[in-house]
Amino acid sequence: MSQENFLDMCPSLHQGNEICNIRAKIIGVGGAGVSLIDGLRFDNFDAVDNLAMDVDLRTLSDSLASEKLSFGRRHTRGMGTGGEYALARRAIEEEKDLLRKQLDGVDLVFLLAGLGGGTGGGVAPVVARIARESGALVFAFTPMPFSWEKSRHAQAEECLKDLRKHANAVVPLPNDSLLQMGGKDATALECFAEASRNVSRGISAICQLVFQKGMIDVDFVHLNRAFNHRAGRTLFGYGSGQGQDALREALRELMLCPMLHLPDVSKAADTLVIFINGGAGMGMSALNSIAEEIRKEFKAGENVVFGAHIDENMGDGVDITVLGATDLGPISGSADIAPSSGQEILQATTPVKSSHPSRLSSSKPKKTKTSKPPKQAKANKADPQALSQNTFDFMEDQNQRGIFDNLPDRNLYDGEDLDVPAYLRRGVKISV
């Protein structure tokens, strides 16, 4: 597992804490989630806590997390769940109050859970639900089992559906794609480390956005407004550049990021966070034009949150991170904590002109399940109304499978989705 130092990635997070009184918590659930948390190593912050949760006492005692929550001893006697997620779910439901206490006063939750496991798959949706109920914004990063682990894969898909009902954004990290991440001759260990780096990159970008004073500043209110929906699908990617043309190089790398070219990843975003971190040489107009290009690439409307930070240590380097969501719907367990002035602030600091009528206003979160169908991401020429209706019905099932997008059913054969590229499922490394 990676020993990536989170401090290196957001060097001024300490001082950032003083800017606002937002509290964030990174929660690792189950074996995979806890080991991801340990890979991040960020227990030196006041505003970002980390919590390891498991039924398996051994996992917890090995963990470096500052807070630990064991549960379900009555059900498992301190051992694992053996992949049985119903068991783990029963266990956490019985100890909800402990969890509530852990989530008290937390504004931002990063949930890390391997959905193929019993604990991760069973408990993550419950954690997301309770976190939402207590008013937090929940981002989940979830490793997904390999396609060839057929029954685990099917279970993970079920859990993913469930988790998407509660979390604001869920970024699945399919193990199938691990191989595509590392270098040419990367070992399995290096590939896992790369996956862990993806997660820390996502979390650090969001943390910097919220906690640090930036060149183009965004605060928690923006983030909350942008993600206060149930996101059917998400996109998450990054790119880095160096030298004279660093911004453009970073954009090029972003568009080639393997995380953006996975079957479960949306190609367009109804809401998009762009975060650019770079050295002092970054020019305002160059930043604006890059942000505009990114907005166009992801067909994002006016709901773009754009943050840029100067980091002297970056030299002539630039990092771009994007997190977007589409197929937005009302989220369960309400917590509309955005103040009414949010929209104005958003417009004032967002460099992107809002040329479209506000789309989000029509799908604002409602407490009932009978609220309006969500808006359709990509307007379809055929019959927009029928299609949007369709999308609503099938939203949970619908995933981007490239050319086979918009088909409600998975093309299952022997437990594998044949519409997912064969090279991904068969673990063939493609070098681009």
Partner: protein
């Protein structure tokens, strides 16, 4: 007097129309043809009716204009994973006092075979007749022969009403009647696997854009039909995701540089994605292209092998495996197929006399429709009825 027949295949990548003229000597000449790229389908099924209908209608119009005639009815190819084939049997005792078989006996046996209804929500698409048995012995035409019992066997394909209805609606919204619905794989086989090959035992694999159609012949008769929902579009989709490029570019790379079999020679070779050196263009290795295609093609034939199981028996497949359809143009695909299936595989060859303009593997099933239409598929002794199909699909159309 000559007769005009129309053949329509609503394929996932293209809608194709052929108009044939059958002369008195039963010679077929193609007088009209059109092919239109189709956007409204995925994996052999219509997802955008209006777009498909417009596409098909404009293809028919073009073919009619070219031929200088109009068509009133068509033979329509059917595919899709919803189609399922099974054997239906029916028998009848010879009723006449002199024990000579009459056409009515055959009809009774046929009625009995087809009496078995498909499951709720499904209808028969195509009954392919197999040999007639007279007292257990296969005969071509038993009418007039002496015996006690005639038996008929059909390979019958049924499908979901909803999917079939959409196809019929495309035709009926252009005021066309349906002469017959014909399974795509059976149509293609008519063209690439002649009677000798079918007798020897042959598997025909039609690799389409949306789906792959299978038809296995043993001793001259159909022994299996199937549809696998993997086609050339999957190769394009894989390339698009693997090389991180837009689908139109992936499609072009596939056609230009695609190969089924990795080749040491091109490991270092790179090609441009767009090719006109515009901004954003970049190079990819040919190895990456081939690797992505290879793993998909291997998997496709592994699925075919799994689906057919014991039916792939080298002793019963003297005619080998024949590949046709657009996907069969992929260089090296027959080598990969042979390795996976363990039997000889070759690319299909069309009968002589088909104009080189249309003698392409992707036209196998639409051409096959015309050839199938020429063959007589009625029961011996019964006049060929033009509207025999109405009974079959009448329920669907609400007639």
């Amino acid at each position: 007097m000559s007769k005009i027949i129309g053949a329509v295949e609503i394929g996932t990548s293209h809608a194709k129309v052929l108009i044939g003229e059958v002369g008195e000597n039963k010679r077929l000449s193609i007088v009209g043809m059109a092919s239109r790229s189709n956007e409204g389908m995925r994996k052999g099924e219509i997802i955008d009716f209006r777009s498909v209908a417009t596409c098909v209608h404009s293809a028919i119009e073009e073919a009619e204009k070219m031929s200088g005639t109009t068509i009133d009815s068509i033979y329509l190819a059917q595919t899709g994973t919803h189609l399922k084939g099974m054997v239906l049997r029916g028998s009848a005792n010879v009723s006449s006092a002199d024990r000579r078989v009459k056409p009515e006996d055959l009809q009774r046996a046929a009625d009995e075979a087809r009496r078995r209804q498909p499951p709720e929500g499904r209808s028969y698409v195509h009954h392919v007749r197999m040999p007639i048995l007279l007292d257990g012995n296969p005969v071509e035409d038993p009418v007039g022969s002496i015996g006690q019992k005639v038996e008929l066997i059909y390979w019958s394909i049924d499908g979901e009403n909803k999917a079939i209805q959409k196809n019929l609606d495309v035709a009926s919204s252009y005021s066309l009647d349906i002469d017959d619905l014909i399974l795509s794989s059976v149509a293609s086989s008519t063209l690439v696997a002649g009677p000798d090959l079918r007798r020897a035992g042959t598997l025909v694999i039609d690799l389409g854009a949306g789906v792959t159609d299978l038809a296995l012949y043993r001793q001259g008769n159909l022994a299996y039909t199937g549809v696998i929902s993997v086609g050339g579009d999957h190769v394009t989709g894989d390339l698009s995701m693997g090389l991180r490029i837009l689908e139109p570019y992936a499609e072009e790379l596939k056609l230009e540089y695609g190969k089924a079999l990795p080749d040491e020679a091109d490991s270092g070779e790179e090609v441009w994605i767009i090719g006109n050196k515009t901004i954003g263009d970049r190079k990819v290795t040919r190895k990456a292209i081939t690797d992505i295609i290879h793993v998909r093609i291997v998997e496709l034939f592994e699925i075919i092998s799994k689906e057919l199981g014991d039916l792939i028996d080298p002793n019963e497949m003297g005619g080998g495996v024949i590949l046709t359809g657009g996907g069969s143009k992929l260089p090296g695909i027959e080598v990969v197929a042979s390795k996976v299936l363990g039997v000889p595989v070759r690319k299909g060859v069309f009968p002589v006399g088909i104009s080189p303009d249309i003698a392409h593997p992707e036209n196998a099933s639409v051409l096959g429709l015309l050839h199938y239409a020429l063959e007589d598929h009625t029961l011996p002794g019964t006049p060929r009825k033009e509207s025999s199909l109405l009974g079959k699909i009448g329920g669907l159309l609400g007639m």
